[in-house]
Subunit: 435 residues, 2 copies
């Protein structure tokens, strides 16, 4: 009860009373959703029996199909969401995902003064600020440690361990599906083949757009931006580049440059200017980001005072995500309130001043390099390397130009200037290089 | 006020009162110690002006020498520890280190119902359980996020993000001095030379025993063992092996084995058996532990449910440690109580069943390998590799045997059996290999 003891206006007697009653009766928990994560949460609660937590209700769409024998008989199964929300549960664990009906459930629970634990990145990235205000107004709490990087305690680490720093930059591998696909492509596999393998393993959806298009990582990045950079952003201001733009030739050229390719979500904040983007990028093979393979996630925060801090582990999967959910529940049971990090609305640009990798696919003829380098020179962009590997046909020749740090906008103008040239077989691929 | 709202026995009125008064007046903070970390804490508070925190007192041994102009004039400087402890400060930040007088200050502050934030790994590793009970009894709080791995939020991550898991293993690089020395030795430098460089940079003390002997890492490991494995251990039951046992020949052989050498603190818990040790070990060059260089720290927890989680960053230095201290202060100001992880006293063994690296230094003659491998065979220990590189003199020949996973005790018996052989120029070096 620190905030009571430490606030002169609170009365000693109430502080005492609260202290004695702490974790006196277990939190009554309702689970909304019993898929991979929901059943993992139930299993951890049943196996570990953490003090102070009691699963009392499970809402599912069809009770007949989902009843499981290893849960205590006292757990009430229900197909009636409103009835569960109107019950005497203390905490609603929302694991349905998506904006609706999850959003309505969460609002109803918070309005009733209940607390909510959710893994719903979409809901939190779009409505997080509103829902936190709702929780505060009604006296409940909203926790979403599982919404970003699953079992890796990135959000608790930020709120409880890095709140004393001023974070200037976020770089993350936030989508396990993309990391699985790209780390397999690094070993020589083709995108289409790996996608099928990822789908077979349950790592990718039948329609993988949300993941490979960068939308999932973008939602997570927006949540981290609010907690780490203190900015509330509009998702639509961040334009993701899909990893489907990458082909095996890019991995081959990346290797020549001492790099590999990962889907990176990055954001930085300096002098009131906030920039963010999500997409495949070249990462140095010596960078921690290149160590991350399969479905792993990784987040690197650069603090003004503390320097780089790296978090890594299993970002997804039922059990890892369930650990984050149960940890949030334990924090509620122990009265561990969130460290509220102040945030303000901010616009986001896609403007970074970084080195870039540009891969062209051309019908070769003399003068192409001269024209491209001329267009770059006009924007005062310095070339770092030009790579043209042998073994490709002249009529469909991939080659690469890398450039010294330059503004994304300047590079876009340079590429726009040559956009209509007939030797270009496709729009040049333009990737940031992380240093 | 979750535990109030959620506890039926607490009254609505007191909950309301506390909610309104939250962070109403800033926490009044006394800093004990104004060295590297203390002055960094003061500077962050002065520069970032985090809401809810006010530095009101600084205790130093000599006020005349330490007064600094960039702190607000309202800050009271004092050479009288008892007077500061008797003042109206809410939180004492203890940065003096060591068992005394730090321990007395912390006890006095806690007994007076104040909260304490400390970076003192020695004090917490020896008296942490007692001090936490004292805090709970008097209504204050004890936080020590800075005591392990400085600016890396390992402790908040454990308490707030991994409490829902069951941690089975800890592997950590917990001492920046040793990591600096060993990562330089990996590049070819000799121990004595690197130690002098580390001392010149302020990374190592004039007497480096605490660091290179493994005592500093052992104290941090004991703290992590309590929070991650739930066991309270006696430091003396963990026997550290100093990194001074390593020479350049070991790095050379390690490289041939695809490894390098790091000071590792490790502990695991299975079926009620707790094992822990600290010392130089061989780590695979592909392991995250090998990526860590210079003074960086890294901790890997293996969770039963969530798998491996890696934390990495700057484990020491004034600013990084100060970030952890300020974050703890912010958590207090926001009423974020610790998630109390239950722990029980436990004995620790040094028994691990892992592969080992054994380096012999012998006056060469026929039959040595036969005798050594015979002694190993008698303990049913399987040999993985025997390495004898050319270029060393016969009269002082280093060679290496690596063995398949075997119990530490069995290997000790095998080495004991040949201990008195006259061809051994020194006691064989016996290192664990991490897999």
């Amino acid at each position: 009860m620190s905030e009571m003891k430490l606030s002169p206006s609170s009365q000693q007697s109430s502080s005492q009373g609260a202290q004695e009653s702490r974790v006196r009766r277990p939190l009554r928990i309702a689970l909304f959703g019993f898929g991979t994560v929901g059943s993992s949460v139930a299993r951890i609660l049943a196996e570990s029996r953490p003090e102070g937590l009691e699963l009392t209700h499970v809402y599912v769409r069809s009770v007949a199909r989902r009843r499981v024998i290893w849960l205590p008989a006292s757990v009430q199964w229900s197909e009636d969401a409103d009835a569960v929300l109107a019950s005497d549960v203390d905490v609603v664990v929302e694991l349905a995902g998506g904006l609706e009906p999850a959003g309505s459930w969460v609002r109803k629970a918070l309005n009733a003064g209940k607390s909510v634990v959710t893994a719903n990145k979409k809901l939190i990235s779009v409505h997080g600020v509103e829902l936190e205000r709702l929780a505060a107004a009604a006296g409940g709490h909203l926790k979403y440690g599982a919404a970003v990087a699953g079992g890796i305690p990135v959000i608790p680490g930020l709120e409880q361990g890095l709140a004393g720093d001023r974070i200037e930059r976020i770089e993350g591998i936030l989508n396990g599906t993309c990391n699985f696909i790209l780390s397999r492509m690094q070993e020589g596999a083709e995108y289409a083949t790996v996608l099928v393998a990822a789908q077979a393993k349950g790592y990718a959806e039948a329609d993988p757009t949300e993941d490979v298009g960068g939308f999932d990582a973008r939602a997570k990045l927006a949540i981290l931006m609010r907690l780490a950079l203190g900015v509330e952003v509009d998702l639509d201001e961040i334009a993701p580049l899909p990893i489907t733009a990458i082909s095996s030739v890019d991995f081959s050229y990346a290797r020549d440059l001492g790099c590999t390719i990962r889907q990176i979500a990055r954001a930085d904040s300096a002098n009131g200017h906030v920039a963010a983007t999500v997409g495949p990028m070249l990462v140095d093979l010596h960078s921690p980001l290149a160590w991350s393979h399969d479905t792993e996630n990784m987040v690197i925060f650069k603090g003004h005072y503390g320097g780089d801090v790296v978090f890594s582990g299993h970002g997804a999967g039922g059990n890892a995500t369930a650990v984050a959910v149960v940890s949030d529940l334990l924090a509620l049971a122990h009265g561990s309130l969130r460290v509220e990090i102040p945030s303000v609305p901010a616009h986001v640009s896609g403007e970074f001043e970084v080195p870039h990798y540009i891969r062209f696919l051309v019908a070769d003829r003399p003068g192409i390099v001269a024209e491209i380098t001329g267009a770059l020179a006009k924007e005062r962009i310095n070339i770092r390397a030009i790579l043209q590997k042998p073994g490709y046909p002249q009529h469909a020749l991939p080659f690469v130009v890398t450039v010294e740090p330059c503004k994304s906008s300047a590079l876009k103008r340079a590429l726009e200037a040559i956009r209509t040239r007939d030797y270009l077989l496709e729009t040049p691929l333009n990737l940031q290089m992380l240093e």
